[in-house]
């Protein structure tokens, strides 16, 4: 493949190709890669970029209530806004009455301050009949609802007006902007996302650790134990690897549940009196996740171990090292690139899990992915869903870049 068209004219030529033919060859390479790069850009990179935008996008209020949104930009934010802002709000509400964009703006404002949705629809209904208020719009609106006389109502409108907002990212980090514009922690009962992220990373960490502790000796057995035994072992590693995730998840539920196979066995043997809670909790989640992720740890370690010549260990033994010392000082360091790749893959896949926790975990074992899906699907809050996704993605990319730099992207992919 590396040959250029030039060699056709000079059969068997050994001279290096000229510069122009090298440029031509490079062009061919680029044309070969281009379709996939273009395809992934459109179907993968573009959606991810869009998702990151959703995390900060804030067009709803500006679209539905453009006049008052502009007024809010010019207002200092102290006390109550000038009469012109009240007038603009009344104009905007009349114009947007009954249109879906007003509903979107209400929902957005409701995130900032609960009750805003009702306030807006009540006000929009009332101002329709008023053409020229006698005492001015400020007095008129405050008469419709006293909340228009409260600075907090206007502070919320001001926060929600710009076309970009830190609101979703702050919420995803359990922070919020208070009425004075400074960043504070969310009230204790609303702080859930940092805990969820910490739990996600913790579950990923424990799963990776368990996979390493169990996977390393298994990988070593695959290269060191006799061929026959090792190939049976290999089939046992690969069968679950290739079995559908849902098949494995349902199998674990059937084995571990209260009336399940394992509890039946344990009670029949008299080991336990009452069935144990083995699934729909953290224990069941770890069991299922380790089962699913173990091959991702074993295979990269195995591919590195296969490349380590036994003569290194013989050399260390002939120089007088105890086998344990030789293992720790000679063998182990050589396996580290495989261990790194295995840990990275296991951790990254583990923290992104959605299906398994939702099926075998309990209510307190849900991870960030659950909330990403929940806000995208159940309560339509794309901004918060995107912000949570962006934060999880940032954690993973940071790790990917660090480990990729240490051991190379090719090794993570298993092609080096």
């Amino acid at each position: 493949m590396a040959t250029t068209t030039e060699t056709i004219d000079r059969p068997g030529a050994l001279a290096p190709p000229s510069l122009s033919s090298r440029a031509k060859a490079r062009m061919v390479s680029a044309l070969l890669i281009a379709p996939l790069v273009l395809f992934l850009t459109l179907v993968f990179v573009l959606p991810l970029g869009g998702m990151l935008m959703h995390a900060v996008e804030n067009g709803e209020v500006g679209e539905a209530l453009p006049g008052v949104a502009a007024e809010m930009q010019g207002w200092s934010g102290e006390g109550l806004p000038p009469e012109s802002a009240y007038a603009a709000l009344a104009r905007d509400l009349k114009a947007a009455y009954g249109e879906p964009r007003l509903g979107e703006a209400s929902r957005r404002l409701n995130y900032e301050r609960s009750g805003y949705r009702a306030l807006l629809s009540k006000t929009a209904r009332s101002v329709r009949g008023i053409d020229r208020p006698q005492a001015g719009w400020a007095a008129e609106l405050t008469a419709i609802d006293a909340r228009w006389g409260e600075p907090a109502t206007w502070a919320a409108l001001r926060r929600a007006s710009p076309s970009l907002t830190p609101y979703y990212l702050l919420t995803a980090l359990d922070l919020r902007m208070d009425d004075n514009g400074s960043i504070a922690r969310a009230p204790a009962e609303e702080r859930i996302y940092i805990d969820t992220l910490a739990r996600t990373l913790w579950i990923g960490f424990i799963t990776t650790l368990l996979c390493l502790v169990l996977g390393f000796p298994l990988a070593h057995a695959l290269v060191s134990l006799p061929r026959g035994f090792a190939s049976v072992l290999m089939v046992c590693v690969l069968l679950p690897f290739w079995t559908s995730l849902l098949v494995r998840t349902s199998a674990w539920i059937v084995v571990l549940q209260k009336e399940g196979v394992l509890n039946g066995l344990l009670t029949r043997l008299g080991i336990v009196d009452a069935p144990l809670d083995l699934v729909f909790n953290r224990f069941g989640l770890y069991v299922a996740m380790v089962h699913i992720l173990l091959p991702f740890m074993i295979l990269p370690i195995l591919s590195v171990m296969k490349g380590i010549s036994p003569s290194y260990m013989r050399a260390s033994a002939s120089l007088g090292a105890h086998p344990a010392v030789g293992f720790l000082k000679v063998y182990l360091p050589m396996t580290l690139p495989g261990v790194g790749a295995g840990c990275l893959m296991t951790f990254i896949i583990g923290v992104g899990y959605y299906i398994t926790p939702s099926l075998v975990g309990g209510a307190r074992d849900q991870m960030t992915s659950y909330f990403i899906a929940y806000y995208a699907n159940t309560t339509i809050n794309w901004g918060l869903s995107s912000a949570l996704g962006a934060i999880l993605l940032a954690c993973i990319m940071l790790l990917y870049a660090t480990v990729g730099r240490l051991i190379g992207v090719g090794r993570i992919a298993g092609i080096q």
Binding site: S244, L245, A251, V255
Partner: protein
């Protein structure tokens, strides 16, 4: 290794073998049970759960059909684009090669729930949700890295002097590709395609977001079944799928590549 350590190593391996395949095999007999209880002992044998799963009026056959449609489409697209890209990468003359490789395998490292939600947001705007095309495009994008990796690994062992020999005998690059290169890397291309197919066949997160009721795939049908109440018909379907897996492993071993990166993982 000294012999006690060795015995311990064997014992550990045996326990792990039970852990790895035990649960999968344990549910197989229950799928033949005459009762609906998901435990042992089995009161009697029957094929009722298989009849239920394979009934023409049931939800399972349309789901299987959808999975085959989406899987085939995604496989074709991913194999074509992935093989071309791997051929380009293997020529080793592009600047920023490791950046390109990083981009091409990125769909494998981004959690599927994130890519799935992101695609859902974009596809919803352009009317691609609840369509076969949307699901095929999404699965092809997420499955393509497996083709790139498998074909790249095959090309690593490819002897480029063969192509040079073809050129020196007067073959055009296109002719040389189809008569020399492609036949030699075909096992790699086929395994890559199989990986992409299996990825799609087992994928449930993207199917949850992008597929509509018309595109309900087999994994999605299973997901809903497991979430409600598991009955032995799920296990009958599982047993059939394990059979497919075994056939697939045999096929893959024939293609000469028993291990490798596995799709269908990011759930």
């Amino acid at each position: 290794m000294s012999s006690p350590t060795r015995v311990l190593h064997y014992a550990f391996c045996c326990v792990m073998m039970v852990f790895l395949v035990g649960p999968i095999l344990a549910v197989v007999p229950i799928s033949f049970s005459s009762s609906g209880f998901l435990s042992y002992p089995i009161p009697g044998l029957s094929l009722q759960w298989y009849e239920k799963v394979l009934a023409a009026s049931g939800p399972w056959l349309p789901a299987l059909r959808n999975s085959l449609i989406v899987g085939t489409g995604a496989m074709a697209l991913a194999t074509l684009l992935g093989t071309l890209a791997a051929l380009g990468l293997a020529r080793n003359d592009l600047p920023g090669r490791s950046f390109l490789l990083g981009l091409l395998i990125a769909p494998m490292v981004v959690p599927v729930v994130i890519s799935g939600v992101a695609m859902y947001f974009l596809f919803a705007r352009i009317g691609l949700t609840a369509s076969y095309l949307g699901l095929i495009l999404a699965h092809a994008a997420l499955g393509a890295p497996f083709v790139v990796i498998t074909v790249t690994a095959t090309l690593r062992n490819f002897d480029t002097t063969l192509v040079r020999a073809a050129y020196s005998l007067g073959a055009s690059p296109v002719h040389a590709f189809f008569t020399v290169t492609l036949p030699l890397i075909l096992p790699g291309v086929l395994s890559g395609g199989l990986f992409a197919f299996i990825f799609s066949f087992d994928e449930v997160v993207v199917a949850l977001f992008i597929g509509g009721p018309e595109q309900r795939t087999l994994p999605r049908q299973m997901f809903d079944g497991i979430r409600d109440t598991i009955d032995p018909s799920i296990l009958a379907m599982s047993t059939l799928l394990v059979g497919v897996t075994v056939a697939f492993m045999v096929l893959l071993a024939r293609l000469g590549r028993g291990t490798g990166s596995k799709p269908g993982s990011n759930a």
